[in-house]
């Protein structure tokens, strides 16, 4: 009995599976990091310089003498601080694209931790979640799928055609982190009298300096107030517990999406809702995400095009596979003879948009001289 439980526990936490979920999550999460850090950078002078709210000496005082990972420790030169922010945003962008993913995610994590230790006074829970998740991504093989690294590997013939399975413990860690967030916020809230008496959701919208868009007034009165307060606790508790059951997962996550949509609409908490909701992706297995993409692919089948090689040339197998991987939901195929639509090839390949200046050259390099035989069309 114990052995069976241990085996199930071991396989759940440390089993192997598809890297697609982590790849997709990496893209979404790193895009949010780029946006979040860029927004913070618009406050650069106030937030990170000696003439702002938190000079380096104040940040040092906050550490209470405990050493912190902070490449900006003791740095008072604004250009150097700006360079660290710029490097972190660039690393997050590369991580989003999956280019040099391992190095990019490590640089991104070090950058975020350093910036948070440089000014901890302005952080909210969304920032905290962003920081710890960036660290988890840095230790995960999140570049194995949905990445330019994989496309380059396919081009060179060094990456396997099918995704090689990875140990899923980093994905499980992100899932557990999400449960920790929700469980402990419920535990802490249960210690407050306004959550127990069902009036807690009355207060935040009354804070003029915190509220954003309005809601119909009846929403903050009578029975609706209690539904809002107890509903928040129930949804958060479910997001910590029931979400692990495949039977309830979809409904619990939909409840979470609704809850955070309301929080984002009503309150001004930079990036919090977007970051926490992005972690929901990790509650789906790679094969589920892949099956979803395949279903979409079938739905988009009428947009499918086949790009033929130019006359006198033929597609090289590995590069053609790499180019196909740049496409969205398999809408572009390379290799067969058919209608040649090179413009459609890049337009339907989001992964190729950065390579537009060299797109024609890439297409050409993906072909080789063919034995004398006519093919239709040209790229």
């Amino acid at each position: 009995m114990m052995r069976r439980i241990w085996k199930e526990f071991d396989e759940t936490l440390f089993g192997y599976g598809s890297p697609v979920t982590l790849g997709l999550f990496r893209i979404v999460f790193c895009a949010l990091v780029v946006i979040g850090l860029s927004l913070t950078a618009t406050n650069f002078s106030d937030v990170f310089t000696e003439r702002g709210l938190v000079p380096a000496a104040l940040a040092e005082r906050w550490t209470n003498g405990i050493p912190r990972l902070n490449v900006l420790s003791g740095v008072t030169a604004a250009p150097l601080t700006a360079a660290v922010i710029g490097t972190t945003i660039l690393a997050a962008f590369c991580a989003m694209m999956g280019l040099g993913t391992r190095v990019a995610t490590i640089v991104m994590a070090i950058g975020i931790v350093s910036l948070h230790h440089r000014n901890p006074f302005i952080l909210n829970s969304g920032d905290t979640l962003m920081r710890v998740t960036a660290i988890y991504l840095a230790v995960s093989p999140c570049g194995r799928a949905c990445s330019l690294d994989r496309v380059i590997g396919l081009w060179r013939g060094t990456a396997p055609t099918e995704h090689a399975p990875i140990s899923l413990w980093p994905q499980r860690l992100i899932q557990i982190q999400l449960s920790v967030v929700y469980f402990f916020t419920v535990l802490l809230k249960w210690g407050g009298n306004t959550w127990r008496d069902g009036t807690a959701t009355w207060y935040p919208p009354q804070l003029a300096e915190f509220a954003r868009f309005g809601f119909p007034p009846f929403f903050d009165q009578g029975i609706f107030l209690r539904i809002g307060t107890y509903g928040t606790l129930l949804i958060e508790l479910a997001l910590a517990t029931l979400v692990w059951s495949p039977r309830f997962r979809k409904w619990v996550l939909l409840g979470g999406l609704g809850l955070h949509a309301i929080i984002e609409w009503r309150f001004n908490i930079p990036m919090f809702a977007f970051v926490i909701v992005s972690l929901y992706i990790c509650h789906y297995e790679g094969h589920e995400v892949k099956a979803w993409a395949e279903r979409l692919s079938q739905r988009f089948s009428r947009f499918r095009v086949n790009v033929a090689a130019p006359e006198g040339r033929k597609w090289r197998e590995a590069p053609a596979r790499a180019l196909t991987a740049l496409g969205l939901f398999g809408t572009v195929e390379y290799g067969g003879s058919g209608n040649a639509k090179p413009a459609a090839a890049w337009a339907r390949s989001p992964g190729a948009w950065l390579a537009l200046p060299v797109w024609k050259s890439l297409l050409f390099q993906a072909t080789e001289e063919a034995p004398a035989r006519k093919t239709k069309g040209r790229p």
Binding site: D10, E11, L13, F14, G15, Y16, G17, L39, N43, D46, R51, L53, V54, P55, L58, I66, R68, L69, I112, H116, H117, F121, I122, L123, N124, S125, T128, L129, R131, V132, I135, P165, W169, L173, I176, V180, F184, T185, L187, L188, K189, G191, G192, T194, T199, A200, Y203, P204, Q206, A208, E209, F210, A211, R212, Q221, L225, N268, P270, F272, E285
Partner: protein, 208 residues
């Protein structure tokens, strides 16, 4: 549909389990303020005798504060950036609605009024940006962070144009606040209260 595991390094497994346990302990509520002295290794028997007897749950929180938050494992979280708090709207949502203004008194006695950035006064696209300012004040108003006041005073003094021959000498910071009352009760107006007053040095507030 997981493939058969070729095996994760046992050290990673042990580290994983310990780490999850650690962040769970770290995320527990802190001991009540009046009992925190019991978590301090420097607390004398007299100091311990002066506080009330904790409940078993409070004993657990005190032990957690002392051995996890204050121990080597807690320091690892602090150093690496893995520290975390999940007290969103907890234990109760904030009931304090506030904004900040200041009077900057120059050496000659001239008073220059200043309004600290207010989220409610900026267009929607700038609200995210202003929230960082609001959060800073919300945090530095806590007694634990009162050491930030001189830095805020310097910042405020730098925000207004002044004659280099007549630099700011004193910054008086006010909080306009009101406490939100429970639903159905009349809501008070904001009241202006003195937060703190600080002398500032001319070399700290040179114009931009």
């Amino acid at each position: 549909m997981q493939a058969k595991s070729p095996g994760v390094n046992p050290l990673i497994k042990v580290g994983f389990v310990l780490y999850v346990a650690l962040i769970c302990l770290w995320s527990l509520p802190r001991a009540p303020r009046d009992l925190r002295v019991l978590a301090s290794p420097r607390a004398t028997p007299e100091m311990r005798a002066a506080v009330r007897k904790p409940t078993p749950y409070e004993e657990l929180l005190i032990a957690n504060d002392r051995h996890v938050r204050g121990g080597p494992a807690g320091r690892v979280l602090l150093t690496t950036g893995l520290w975390q708090y999940w007290d969103m709207f907890a234990p109760n949502p904030s009931v304090n609605d506030f904004w900040v203004t200041a009077d900057i008194t120059t050496r000659s006695g001239r008073v220059i009024p200043y309004e600290y950035p207010r989220v409610s006064q900026v267009p929607i696209l700038r609200k995210y940006r202003s929230e960082r300012h609001r959060k800073y004040v919300e945090r530095t108003r806590l007694s634990d962070f009162s050491y930030a006041q001189p830095y805020l005073a310097n910042y405020i003094a730098r925000q207004v144009p002044f004659d280099p021959g007549d630099p700011p000498s004193i910054v008086t910071v006010y909080v306009h606040e009101r406490e939100i009352q429970p639903p159905g009760q009349p809501q008070p107006n904001h009241e202006k209260r003195l937060w703190f007053r600080r002398a500032v040095q001319p070399d700290e507030v040179r114009p931009r």
